[in-house]
Symmetry: none
Subunit: 415 residues, 2 copies
């Protein structure tokens, strides 16, 4: 069963709004195990909309159109779709009644003339009552194809889809889809693929797909099966094999667990507190940790020591270290991490010092050079990186690496 999405609206072509409806519908269709090969956006224009609907009906079994069901003259979706599929338009008494009802207790005394347009429907269409607006949803069925027409505003679309269209689609689809996420940090996308190449090459069911995020790779394993248990059976050995090949590079197998959540969970597990000592990242590592609800259990305070004076005063970095090696050096990172632990009375610390640019780079210490130190069990480990990109990009990568080093240091020292 192949489904295709068509978003109708000039505001999308002008870039006035982000198309979040498409993501919502695509995710739900994937969950239902429907295949999707195309999504299209087209404006409120009769000829172009006809053409897009015709093309979609040729290549897909179900087309879902969103937008263009409003009362104004440039709302054309219903009219054009009915014409393409050969449905005459008639007034629907039930919908007319709902419109009257809608206005009865509403803020407007008179019903604007153009609202009656919304009671006109393709003859024989399934009408989906809209409890959050006036345009009903519609399903047109012909020659084994279905066209589902839904209003564009998310507040109307989401409940209409979940309550009435989702069960309709479920009935069309015998198979079920389940997927499992594997989140990786510390390895590039091509490295991950190299390690999984034979698995990826022979994939059919489940399938394996990789996605690169800043400093992370997400792997999605997806199985199709007759029921929940069969899907789980298909996923299990593949997920296990991938985990064993990638080892500690895997930080989570939960869809919604972020890197900082994984770090906070580990700190909670081993009953550790952490502090942050940041220079070039200026508070962003702490900011990520505090994203996690309940971070207060493991995080009491953080240090943003941007100037040398602050590094000395807050973290007791020695004057001679700063003079001899500079603020961006292994030695300074080391003293920052140790200083953070002592100043805050925390169990562990992650410290970051680097050159984010665009100024401040030298031949020896170019822009993008970042030292990250972790303090665990009276020992400090330091790593350094040469990040690429602009100031924001360098800092963003440093934050991810700092969180990942913290995570792996905890595993190395406490597991």
């Amino acid at each position: 069963m192949v489904v295709e999405l068509i978003s109708v609206g000039t505001e999308l072509l002008l870039g006035n709004i982000v198309n979040t409806n498409t993501q919502f519908l695509a995710e739900k269709c994937a969950l239902l195990g429907l295949s999707m090969y195309h999504q299209a956006v087209v404006g409120d224009n009769k000829e172009r909309l006809s053409e897009v609907i015709r093309t979609a009906l040729k290549r897909s079994d179900v087309i879902i159109l969103t937008g263009g069901l409003g009362p104004t003259e440039d709302d054309l979706t219903k009219e054009v779709c009915a014409e393409v599929m050969g449905f005459p338009l008639v007034e629907d008494a039930h919908t007319r009644e709902r419109i009257e009802q809608y206005f009865k207790n509403g803020i407007y005394k008179e019903i604007p003339e153009n609202n009656w347009k919304q009671a006109i429907i393709p003859a024989g269409a399934i009408v989906l009552d809209n409890d959050n607006g006036m345009a009903p949803g519609l399903i047109l069925e012909k020659y084994g194809k279905s066209a589902v027409l839904l209003p564009g505003p998310p507040s109307e679309l989401y409940p209409l889809f979940m309550n009435q269209v989702y069960p309709y689609l479920q009935n069309l689809q015998p198979e079920l889809i389940r997927s499992q996420m594997i989140k990786v940090c510390g390895m590039g996308e091509s490295q991950v693929e190299t390690k999984l190449l034979d698995l990826i090459d022979k994939q059919t069911n489940p399938t394996i797909a990789t996605y690169a995020k800043t400093g992370e790779v997400h792997i999605r394993v997806t199985a199709k099966a007759a029921d929940e248990d069969a899907a789980k059976e298909l996923l299990k050995p593949v997920v296990k094999e991938i985990r064993s090949r990638l080892g500690d590079y895997v930080y989570s197998t939960k869809e919604k667990e972020t890197l900082e959540t994984a770090v906070v969970r580990l700190l909670q597990k081993y009953e550790l507190t952490v502090t942050t000592a940041e220079s070039c990242t200026g508070g962003l590592v702490a900011g990520r940790l505090v994203n996690v609800p309940g971070a207060s259990e493991v995080f009491n305070e953080g240090f943003i020591t941007y100037s040398n004076k602050a590094k000395r005063k807050r973290l007791d970095v020695s004057k001679s270290t700063l003079r001899k090696y500079g603020a961006v050096s292994e030695e300074t990172a080391r003293e920052m991490a140790a200083g953070g632990v002592f100043a805050s009375d925390s169990d562990t610390c992650v410290a970051v010092t680097g050159i984010a640019g665009p100024e401040g780079g030298t031949e020896d210490k170019p822009v993008g050079l970042v030292y990250i130190a972790t303090y665990m069990k009276d020992k400090v480990s330091v790593e350094h990186y040469q990040f690429k990109g602009n100031r924001a990009k360098v800092r963003e990568q440093a934050v991810v690496k700092a969180l990942d080093l913290l995570r792996r240091s905890i595993l190395d020292n406490y597991r």
Copy 2:
């Protein structure tokens, strides 16, 4: 000149991510005065991708493809586009060198074999160097049509597009479009619209469009003209009128000036230093200030005082204040701001304390309640807000408000 967007990526068809690239590109194309009638999304599949490219080249002058330029086997955009347009593939020495360079000082020792794929380009294509990733952008020109191929990650796409594709498209377009940005903070979109209603209603050239961002409204005034001077003449009176109506709510009229840049510029102008004292925002206010190159002139250090103990120790918030009024209170915010100034010997301070949720709210102090204090010239001012949304959303709004209060306090006290 008609342009069409094609996003390539199975993750879009599966609804794993929201397609923000399309909104970005559509907005920029509209700015350039280019017409757009279609946008398409297609997966990493050779036959379907070929078909979509062929259709797009028939009906549009320029097609912009994003995604599918990575090193892995399922990245096909370049190969398929070259085949459809009849370009042979060759190795590009310049790009090969850039890949070598990229790995040379990088974190990975060996260059994975599949990365060399990214040095293969359609013979005769214009190569657009990518400073934030390995896949170069490409422009293929044939029969008066152009295909622009860009990497999918926004951090690579955005700078590549703005620096290299935008001027390319500008050259294709005979009429010149100039626009002027006006950035507003502290006022909602509908409030801004109400103040400008008569201007918006009578707009033809220049046009006025408003865009809502988190805590901000951006107003773009756009003029079409034969030359630069004529465009400027059209923009000038409208921009002046808008500025005078919105007063200090306008924080910048520069395209690339962010709220934090405006704050740092003001601090520099009045030769002030600032410190941050953050609880619920956990370092994100400082993180925003440090986004600005040269922030070290005005920012020496910041305090992340998440626990009560840290508030007492670092900022000298009194035990009785914490006990009597709680950590989230006007009184605590006030003492945090004053304490930050004295502890760091800075001229000014912004302090934030609030309940980000999801836990910790009470009837008196619900989730979303945030106090923000600014210290200027021996005086502390405190404002409180009741933000809507989840933990991330509450914190994000608090950060914007903190920066804006800081900006307006400087204007009120030093201008």
